[in-house]
């Protein structure tokens, strides 16, 4: 069940599932994505920042 979420407003952008899930299980999965989405977002921001810091360092700008 892949789920894509926008971490800023918790809106679901992609949702696809096949197999078998109860309503409770599906709801739980979506709840988990709310938290996990924020973590992934933090990691993405960190990766972008670190990348640019390296470039700035290389050219002696910081």
């Amino acid at each position: 069940m892949p789920i894509a979420i926008s971490p800023r407003n918790n809106e679901i952008l992609l949702l696809q599932m096949d197999g078998n899930l109860t309503i409770e299980e599906a709801k739980k999965a979506i709840e988990m994505v709310k938290e996990a989405g924020k973590e992934i977002h933090k990691a993405q921001v960190r990766a972008v920042k670190e990348g640019y810091e390296k470039i700035l360092e290389k050219y002696g700008l910081i």
Partner: protein, 258 residues
């Protein structure tokens, strides 16, 4: 569609109304006819309002998949015929047609409607089930109509016999259908989720979600068309789908037992 119709739908929705006076969680009239194609092993013609979908099932001997040598196969395809809508053209399957076939296929597979091991004939030979969906007229919600048509055709489907290297299509037994799966499709317009969107409503919608389920479990979900959904909207769609699928199953059961 002209701009007036779009504004009209949006204005009506603000008052909680729809173009055809339905409630937001109400289906259009569903009619199912089965066994209408003589040469097919199973067939059904479903109308959902002005949407009309025809399915035919052909069963033939074929080779098994290399990873499942002792199981039969299901091959689902969908065709959006040019006569169904001015938006459809002849040619290779459009992304919409591929999506429709995939979502129906996934639901039927996940709900274990077909007992694939029972389609084994002998080593290197299995029955292949070809499920073809033809959209004859488009007025929104092809998913739910296709699920109903496919399930009816499968439940009424016959299995040919294989004797001395020949396929015999006389005195055929019924193909066992183990489960019933139906889908409920919602269109998001503004902040409202509408069940069973019409063609006009699908034109205006920002997003679409289809939930396929049997009596107990969700078997497939497909969010399509773009847009975004609130978590509460997804939960509403899941719950509504279970509620509404009871009616769909009743309609199907009535037609299957006839």
């Amino acid at each position: 569609m002209n701009i007036n119709t779009k504004d009209y739908i949006l204005e009506l929705l603000e008052k909680g109304m729809r173009e055809d006076k339905r409630k937001i969680d109400e289906y259009r009239k569903i009619e199912i006819r089965s066994g209408i194609i003589e040469n097919a092993e199973g067939s059904a013609d479903v109308t959902l309002g002005d949407t009309r979908v025809l399915t035919g099932i052909k069963i033939d001997v074929g080779e098994p998949m290399p990873d499942k040598p002792d199981e039969g196969n299901l091959v689902t395809s969908a065709e959006l015929l040019p006569l169904a809508s001015t938006d459809y053209d002849v040619g290779p399957p459009s992304p919409e047609a591929i999506e429709l076939a995939r979502v129906v296929d996934r639901g039927i597979r996940s709900a274990e409607v077909i007992d694939f091991p029972s389609l084994f004939i002998e080593e290197g030979k299995v029955w292949n089930v070809f499920l073809d969906i033809y959209v004859l007229n488009y007025d929104g919600n092809l998913f739910d109509a296709s699920y109903l048509a496919s399930m009816t055709a499968l439940a009424k489907c016959k299995l040919p016999k294989y004797e001395d290297g020949k396929v015999i299509r006389e005195d055929m037994k019924k193909l066992k259908a183990n489960n019933i799966v139906t889908s409920c499709t919602f269109a998001k317009i503004g902040n409202t989720l509408l069940l069973d969107p019409s063609g006009d409503e699908e034109y205006v919608m920002s997003g679409r979600i289809t939930v396929a389920n049997d009596e107990k479990k969700i078997r497939a979900i497909q969010k399509g068309h773009g847009g975004s959904f609130l978590v509460s909207e997804i939960e509403y769609a899941l719950e509504k789908s279970f509620e509404k699928s009871k009616d769909l199953r009743n309609i199907l059961n009535k037609n299957i037992s006839e």
